[in-house]
Each structure stands twice: as C-alpha cells, then as structure tokens.
Symmetry: C2
C-alpha cells in the first residue's frame, strides 16, 4: 500500500520534441511495484501543449484541473476540462493544448512498460 500526494512527487520538464511548457510526474508506477499500469501526471502551462504524436499504447486521462482541447488525428479540437475523462487509443495521433489561463493538470495512465 502506498499513499502519495502530488506535491511530494518529483516534477521534470518534458523535453520531447513538440512539447511546450509541459511537466511530468509519476505518482504511481514501476518504482512502487505497480503490477500493470502507471499513473503519470502532466501539467501544461497556459499556452503550452503536448506533442502532436502517436504511440503504440493507449492512455487514459482524467483532468484534475484546467481547461484545454484534445486534438484528434484530423486536427479537430474537442474541449476538455476539470472532471473529464478521455481514452486515446493505441496509434491514434493526438495532442493536448492548454487553452485556459491556469495550468492544465491531468492524469495520464499508461501500461507501466511505457511510463
């Protein structure tokens, strides 16, 4: 059993190409012997975004705070905000953009091999 608050978790800038103003934390994952999944948290600054990309694994998101859009493979934007859940399928091109005036903070769960 492990209990952890987000403010106790190391926070690192996302250096991936195409990412702007994005930060990553891993509150629960391999280091905790999580058997299957890892919970990462991304914080995107106002005006920032995650890369417009795809990968062979899905992710399951929960928006902890903020307002943004989730961009699909065709570049179409769907608003997403505090309290919303999203599933991005394996190999589906996507991007998160913060369209609000405060940090956009979301859980991004993935199979632990890809944390």
């Amino acid at each position: 059993m492990k209990i952890v608050s987000l403010d106790q978790v190391e926070k690192n800038v996302v250096n991936m190409e195409g990412a702007t103003g994005a930060w990553k934390q891993i509150p629960l994952g391999s280091k905790d012997n999580a058997p299957v999944y890892a919970y990462r948290v991304f914080t995107v600054e106002p005006g920032g975004n995650t890369p417009f990309h795809s990968h062979p694994y899905e992710h399951m998101n929960y928006v902890i705070d903020g307002r943004g859009v989730l961009v699909n493979k065709n570049g179409e934007e769907t608003p997403i905000q505090t309290g919303d859940f999203a599933l991005v399928d394996p190999n589906e091109k996507h991007q998160y953009r913060n369209t609000g005036d405060k940090p956009f903070i979301m859980i991004c769960g993935v199979p632990k091999e890809f944390e």
Copy 2:
C-alpha cells in the same frame, strides 16, 4: 478517442456485502475497448465505506474530492484526501471510509478483466 464527463456516466449502488453508502461508475473500460485498464469511480457518502476485503488484483486510486481514511490489513487508518494517490497491492486487505462531511469521490483503476 473518447471524452466523457462523470455526470454523463450511469451510477449504481454498490451491493457488495460490507459496503455502505457506496456508488459505482465506469467512465472508461471494456465498453470503450480500453486495451488494458478500466477507470471506475466510487462515491462514498459521509459515514459510508467500501468493504474491508482483498482481491487478487491491485487498484490505483486518485481522490477527486473529499476526505477519508484508507484502512490497511492490520486495521490501521491512514488519512487520504483530495489530490492524493494510492496503490493497493493484489491480495492486500483494505477499506476506504469517508470521514468527512461531503461525498468522498475517487478513481479506482483496475485491470479491465476486473472492472
């Protein structure tokens, strides 16, 4: 890709023995073709609790709102509140109790076979 808000998701009372004032939703899971994991949400009313039990799979929690305790196998209580993450290991006996004066709402992710 799927985006859903919690208030759009069917909510059912938890009829499991030992559960009191607990409700379940499944915002993302098998019905959405989630490949690996399912995100369930449990809402526990003030004074309510989940069963004191164990199961062969882990769960990974995030407290969306409220204040409670997570009870371990020895009956020891650890406070847990909005913004906290918890990992409960496979076969580890545990219970959530709402000790606050408003609903205790948490994500409870599990391998989708056990949603």
